[in-house]
């Protein structure tokens, strides 16, 4: 079983609510769920959609063809009517969209009317639509009811009841009027159906997108100061952290611009707390000088960069992976940097934790590179393993400092890592400088100190940081003929393609999520795997194969083939399968 439901309409019509409710209830029902969003940079109108995939097998990508198309407007019908799977259905309300369609693929659900009839409120038409979808799938409404209860509890019992009535009527209408509906969904796995949420680490069904995964990772890493200037697709993290600041001891400050944001994040870290900022590629441009400041002053800071199609403003609400080399080489001068590019919400959670830990351990800026696709995509998971988020306070606090006779912020050490103290926590002065400085932090100009500081800051630390980097994730057949390589958000689609093609061909994936320092080829056999394969493909959501360039610069390895997509949209599963030469298989 593997169904795709696409809900399309204008911004402001509530399609996101429909999609989110469906995704959550499918998850609770024990299915594997994957969602992604496609929306325009406008607040009302236009054409947007939200796509939900549910399956009884693990899924981690979106498909091109849909089984149920929920059309909140005419445009949705027109744009997507040719993208139906065999047996696919288009659900719409001819009254709302002022158009009647004939054909057995169409199911005209009078949602508005039903909403008026059952709840006396046309605003409940979306709840009717949710009910209709469940009716078409032949699913019970039990979990939905629980969900509606949770969501609308604050608005009072009556609203909950109205919603439940509207949903039931929608479901009933669909069951009665969709004789052509041939969907079949197994009963929810009882153990999990409607199961109450379980705490971190415990098994359960969780639905999480990349944005909230990073937010949770930051929260558990002890991030106490978050600052940003709003920018899609990073604003979600700002909102997440702002909401946390109502509950936990954490300060969130909207900066006047991105320059202020990075400098504030650095200031907060200097003062002694873990701090983070986030932005998109364009806003990051304004942070570049600050990154260099973190490098010179050896101030830990975590920076989230949500990629979107560029250059310049580009396509603000869409996706691309074209900022890798830019972030990697950002800022003047040479200093260590850490770059994580998670491929799933689970990875996003853990790698955010790793970024915080390494940033503070080595006193360097650490990046989490994501993109609109990963940020907005929801995955169902069994849970998150919070144990994997290390938390160790590497700073010298009052107690530690009291024991020291003397203190030098930038003291030369064997590891290159100098003691990082909280200023004001003792009589020891914490001095640092954006100019080249001596061990105490005071500005100098002589050649020898300069050389020693570069050695300390860069040459000694870099190999140690590299030691911390995990090898790429290998997935698939042993001794594969075809190796598909990706980084960041293409993880899910490549993994699924490998799953599907693995039955009939010798194929494997190498996925890189810890990008820089580049994983040591001596520490794992990824170069041999690549070298032995008949065919190697690098899949990237950009035009210039940036990761392949990095691989060549780091290892000399040259890929046989490149698959690039740069129209602002993510890879659909079928696209990748097509490309990998497996277009024939339809039983995926």
């Amino acid at each position: 079983m593997d169904y795709t439901i696409r809900i399309g309409g204008q911004a402001g019509q509530g399609l996101q609510t429909i999609g989110a409710v469906l995704a959550k209830l499918f998850t609770r029902a024990g299915f594997h769920v994957f969602t992604h969003q496609d929306y325009m940079s406008r607040i009302r109108g236009g054409h947007n959609y939200y796509q939900v995939r549910l399956s009884d097998r693990p899924v981690s990508s979106s498909r091109s063809l849909v089984d149920i198309l929920v059309s909140l407007d005419k445009t949705t019908v027109e744009e997507h009517r040719d993208e139906l799977n065999a047996g696919g259905m288009i659900v719409y309300d001819s009254e709302t969209i002022r158009q009647k369609y004939e054909g057995e693929n169409f199911l005209d659900v009078p949602s508005r009317q039903i909403a008026m009839d059952t709840a006396g409120n046309r605003l409940m038409e979306n709840t009717v639509a949710v009910g209709a979808v469940l009716g078409m799938l032949g699913m019970s409404l039990e979990i939905l009811e629980a969900l509606l209860n949770e969501v609308f509890a604050r608005k009072g019992h009556e609203v909950v009841e109205q919603n439940i009535a509207a949903a039931s009527a929608g479901a009933q209408f669909a069951r009665e009027n969709c004789s052509q509906c041939a969907f079949s969904v197994p009963e929810p796995r009882s153990a999990e159906a409607g199961a109450t949420p379980a705490g971190g680490g415990a098994p359960g069904r969780m639905l999480l997108d990349g944005t909230n995964a990073v937010g949770l990772g930051a929260l558990l890493s002890g991030c106490r100061f978050y600052t940003a200037y709003p920018m899609t697709p990073s604003t979600g993290i700002l909102n997440f952290m702002a909401a946390q600041s109502k509950k936990h001891s954490l300060v969130v400050e909207q900066a006047e611009d991105e320059i202020a944001a990075i400098n504030m994040a650095i200031g907060a870290s200097y003062a002694g707390v873990r701090s983070m900022t986030g932005t998109a590629g364009g806003g990051f441009a304004l942070m570049v000088e600050g990154v260099s400041l973190a490098g010179m002053t050896e101030t830990p800071v975590v920076i989230y960069v949500g990629q979107r199609p560029a250059p310049a403003t580009g396509l603000p609400t869409r996706t691309e992976q074209a900022d890798l080399l830019y972030v990697l080489h950002a800022a003047h001068g040479e200093f260590p940097k850490i770059i994580m590019a998670p491929g799933s919400p689970g990875q996003a959670f853990h790698l955010t934790g790793k970024a915080f830990d390494l940033a503070e351990k080595y006193q360097v800026p650490a990046f989490i590179i994501s993109d609109q696709y990963l940020a907005d995509s929801e995955w169902s998971l069994d849970g998150l393993d919070a144990e994997k988020i290390p938390y160790h306070d590497y700073r010298l606090r009052a107690g530690d400092l009291a024991k020291l006779d003397s203190y030098k912020r930038h003291a030369y050490t064997d590891s290159g890592v100098s003691p990082l103290a909280e200023p004001g926590a003792s009589r020891h002065l914490v001095v640092t400088d954006s100019d080249e400085h001596d061990e105490e932090g005071h500005l100098i100009e002589d050649a020898l100190t300069r050389r020693l500081m570069v050695e300390k800051r860069l040459l000694k630390k870099m190999p140690l940081i590299r030691e911390e980097i995990s090898p790429p994730l290998y997935y698939g057949a042993e001794n594969p003929e075809v190796v598909v390589v990706g980084w960041g958000s293409t993880y899910g689609v490549i993994k699924e393609a490998v799953d599907i093609m693995g039955d009939s061909s010798s194929i494997a994936m190498l996925h890189f999520s810890e990008i820089f320092p580049f994983p040591d080829p001596e520490k794992s056999d990824f170069l041999e795997v690549l070298g032995k394969a008949k065919s190697t493909v690098c899949v990237e959501n950009n035009a210039t194969s940036q990761f392949a360039q990095l691989v060549r610069a780091e290892t000399g390895f040259v890929f046989d083939r490149h698959l690039n997509k740069f129209d602002g949209r993510p890879f659909m599963l079928e696209e990748l399968l097509d490309y990998l030469g497996d277009a024939g298989r339809n039983d995926v």
Binding site: L220, R224, T227, K247, S249, L429, S434, D435, H442
Partner: protein, 284 residues
């Protein structure tokens, strides 16, 4: 308690006769009078002659980027409102490169102080016009002279309803010391714009030029009278009023932000993963 000697830092690399030397001296005097010890203060500075200031005394120091003293200072204060935070910037630093931060720091009204060493020129980069350079001054970069009005930071700050706005002159060390005290003691954002000769690059606004013009505001001036303050702020010609120009009693951000208001500084608040782990549950 501290002594002047406690604040001896590196030997200043400023030109002999530079107003910065007098500012530094006033500062040390203020510190000693206020009984502040070096470790009780964080100085954040930018890049420029003024930016070297903290190295020439003793204090916790974050000498950051050109123009970015205020974001760094504000974040430090948000994280640790138990510490005194002083930002030291040049006129180019604060009103040129950093102009946007200046505007928004005035709004936030965190309890930090900024000294702007206002020599009406870019000193460290060798004499280009700064935002406060007088109209008409010819430089290598302004061969026809500066062709537009200087920015008046004091009037601007009054217009923005700043917490505390004062103007000092490096040549009046006693007044300057008092202004520094008052600025540091003010609860909220305080701006102290310090007129300072640059003996090398500013041949117009010399020590004598300032000396003739700088005039302490009379006791009759009421700094809480915004309109009077604004009128006074606009005076910058044959007479330049020095002293506390404006003072408002706006609440500070740290007093209004629930996470820290009436609480331990954030940096002292304990963190444990157990406190936040329950947030995972929202996603089940």
């Amino acid at each position: 308690m501290s002594e002047l000697e406690d604040f001896r830092g590196q030997n200043p690399a400023w030109c002999p006769g530079c107003g910065n030397l007098q500012i530094l001296r006033s500062f040390k005097m203020a510190m000693v009078e206020m009984g502040i010890e070096p470790h009780e203060l964080i100085i954040v500075s930018g890049i420029g002659q003024a930016g070297k200031f903290p190295h020439y005394t003793k204090c916790n120091t974050f000498n950051g980027l050109h123009g970015r003293t205020l974001p760094v200072s504000q974040a430090i204060r948000l994280v640790n409102h138990g510490m005194r935070v002083l930002a030291v910037a040049g006129d180019g630093d604060c009103y040129g490169e950093g102009g946007n931060h200046f505007l928004h720091a005035l709004r936030r009204n965190l309890n930090i102080t900024v000294f702007v060493h206002d020599n009406q020129v870019y000193g460290l980069t060798k004499g280009q016009a700064s935002p406060t350079t007088d109209e008409g001054m010819v430089t290598g970069t302004q061969p026809f002279g500066v062709l537009y009005e200087p920015l008046n930071p004091v009037a601007l700050a009054v217009s923005m309803d700043a917490g505390f706005v004062a103007r000092g002159f490096s040549g009046n060390q006693e007044q300057l010391k008092e202004l520094m005290r008052a600025a540091l003691e003010h609860r909220g954002f305080s701006l102290l714009d310090i007129l300072q000769p640059c003996v090398t690059y500013n041949k117009i606004n010399t020590f004598q030029w300032y000396k003739q013009r700088c005039n302490p505001v009379g006791v009759s001036h009421d700094p809480s009278d915004r309109e009077a303050a604004w009128r006074l702020a606009l005076e910058f010609g044959d007479r330049i009023p020095t002293g506390i120009i404006y003072r408002s009693d706006r609440p500070t951000l740290e007093e209004r932000l629930p996470e820290i208001a009436n609480q331990e500084p954030l940096v002292k608040q304990p963190f444990s993963q157990g406190d936040v782990i329950s947030e995972l549950e929202n996603f089940f």
